[in-house]
Amino acid sequence: MAEPDSHSLRRRLRSSQVLLGAAGALAFVAAWYLLVRFEVWRFAKLPDPLSVVREWTARRPQYGVSLYTAAYYQDIWTSTVRVFCAFALATLLGVPTGIALGWSRSVREFLFPLLELIRPIPPLAWVPLAVLMLANQEAAMIFLTWIAAFFATVLNTMLGVTSIDPAYVRAAYCLGSRPQDVLRHVVVPAALPYVFTGLQIAMGVAWFSLVAGEMIAGQAGLGYMILSAYMDLQTTTIVIGMVTLGLVGFLSSALVRWLGERLTAWQFS
């Protein structure tokens, strides 16, 4: 009866894993609380986890932002819409560009060096230029968020196309395909796992850039909320903003991953 035995072993392992994980997280929060409460070194300047939770769930928050205030959702909404627009633009422009770069050697030879020249400029170094170029504040935020996401999408899509097993392309031609059939039935689906790797990275860097953009030049959104809380020395609200950013960032990445797994289910045997 090896089967059930190894099964229960695995379950026991799994449960010890969960317990240890919970213990780790708990220890983290407890350490945070104690360091702040007993004013160890400069931890006195930070809010403790309990007051963050209290403020976050307060009907009448001390500093104006909690689960019960409209301002909180306003900022989440603003940032989410910006990320969504930038991400959609990055996908719509980046995937076709990546496919063209991977598929055609001429396109690659003309454009890839230019791309490689621009790419080392960190996305956030575009902040001043974006603000200068696009007078419209919304457009500037979206441009900033878009640029990082775009490069991640293009490069991964291109990598996906260039690493297609040539046997698939040959098989397709053997079966009587025209080039456009190969593009549609072989190149695009075969590159899809890479495309989604790119999109997942893109989602991460989109939030990364947006927060910076909002902190530097924004007038709304979660990044702006954190920065204005800092200006008013409301550290509790800063932490609420950070945790919220972590949550929406995590959820949007999970959404992309879920979509990717659904669309490329064929690769899991």
Partner: protein
């Protein structure tokens, strides 16, 4: 399946492949590699031809030229009298000579039916629905109806190979080009595949160009076995296999089979030794 293919076959009696003084030199950055020296051979319509030879002797190169993947340096290849490759010319690959690949090339992102229906759909030979119905019918006849909706990576390699052969046959090609299709299979599934391929061949009478390393397989399946010399490839010896058809894997125990086998082993061994000795010299 046999009935279906016979009734619809537009290519009965077609599929003669002539290879005339074919030569191929690869130009790589490391220098020129002569893969095929001089290959001349007539393959009759409906013939089952097996090619054996040492690893790296140029078998795949020859198949790639027939398929239209890679040009040749000199000589000529014709299919039913039409030149498909010569020095400076290469006809594009097409559904008249379908390849089944060494490592398998079913599209993993399409399920089994969609893979099989792919050819007729892109060739605009059938409507989408017709093609799917034909694919289903084929699967039904070979007893694979259960896996119609499965994705290839979920299937055993034996089933993958069977599906890939159906994907080729549904196009009613003049010739099938098989490059070591059963290499990755274990002995038991391999023998089942032999039976199935024999059934398909004996009912459809397609020309088959079959590359293998397995001498038993070559004799059991083919009408003629060509032994290639070690690189650069040449026709070293042609063996006629007179075993009666329909054939069955049981024939591998017959006296005629064993005689052929001994003869073939002798020729191949000679070439293998040559390849080995040359390999040693190249290393030294």
């Amino acid at each position: 399946m046999a009935v279906l293919l016979k009734a619809e076959a537009r290519t009965a009696g077609a599929g003669a492949i002539s290879l005339r003084s074919v030569r191929k030199v690869y130009a790589s950055s490391a220098g020129a590699v002569e893969a095929i020296a001089d290959w001349t051979l007539e393959i009759a319509p409906g013939e089952f031809l097996a090619v054996v030879g040492p690893s790296g002797c140029g078998k795949t190169t020859l198949l790639n030229a027939i398929a239209g993947f890679d040009p040749i340096t000199a000589g000529e290849i014709a299919l039913d009298g039409t030149t498909i490759a010569s020095a400076g010319y290469l006809a594009p690959p097409g559904a008249d000579r379908v390849v089944v690949f060494q490592n398998g090339a079913l599209f993993p992102w399409k399920n089994v039916v969609d893979n099989i229906a792919y050819g007729p759909i892109v060739q605009r030979r059938m409507s989408h629905e017709q093609a799917l119905r034909a694919a289903h019918a084929l699967l039904e006849r070979v007893g694979l109806a259960d896996v119609a909706r499965a994705f290839p990576l979920k299937l055993s390699s034996g089933v993958q190979r069977r599906v890939e052969m159906l994907r080729a046959l549904i196009n009613d090609p003049k010739a099938l080009l098989l490059d070591e299709p059963f290499r990755a299979l274990d002995a038991i599934s391999k023998s089942a595949m032999h039976e199935e391929l024999l059934r398909l061949y004996e009912s459809t009478q397609k020309t088959i160009f079959f590359i293998t390393h397995d001498l038993d397989e070559a004799i059991l399946l083919a009408d003629r076995v060509v032994v290639s010399a070690t690189r650069p490839a040449r026709v070293k010896r042609v063996l006629h296999v007179d075993l009666p058809r329909p054939r069955s894997p049981l024939m591998t125990a017959s006296r005629e089979f064993l005689e052929l086998r001994a003869q073939l082993t002798g020729v191949v061994h000679e070439e293998a030794e040559k390849a080995l000795r040359r390999g040693e010299r190249e290393l030294a």
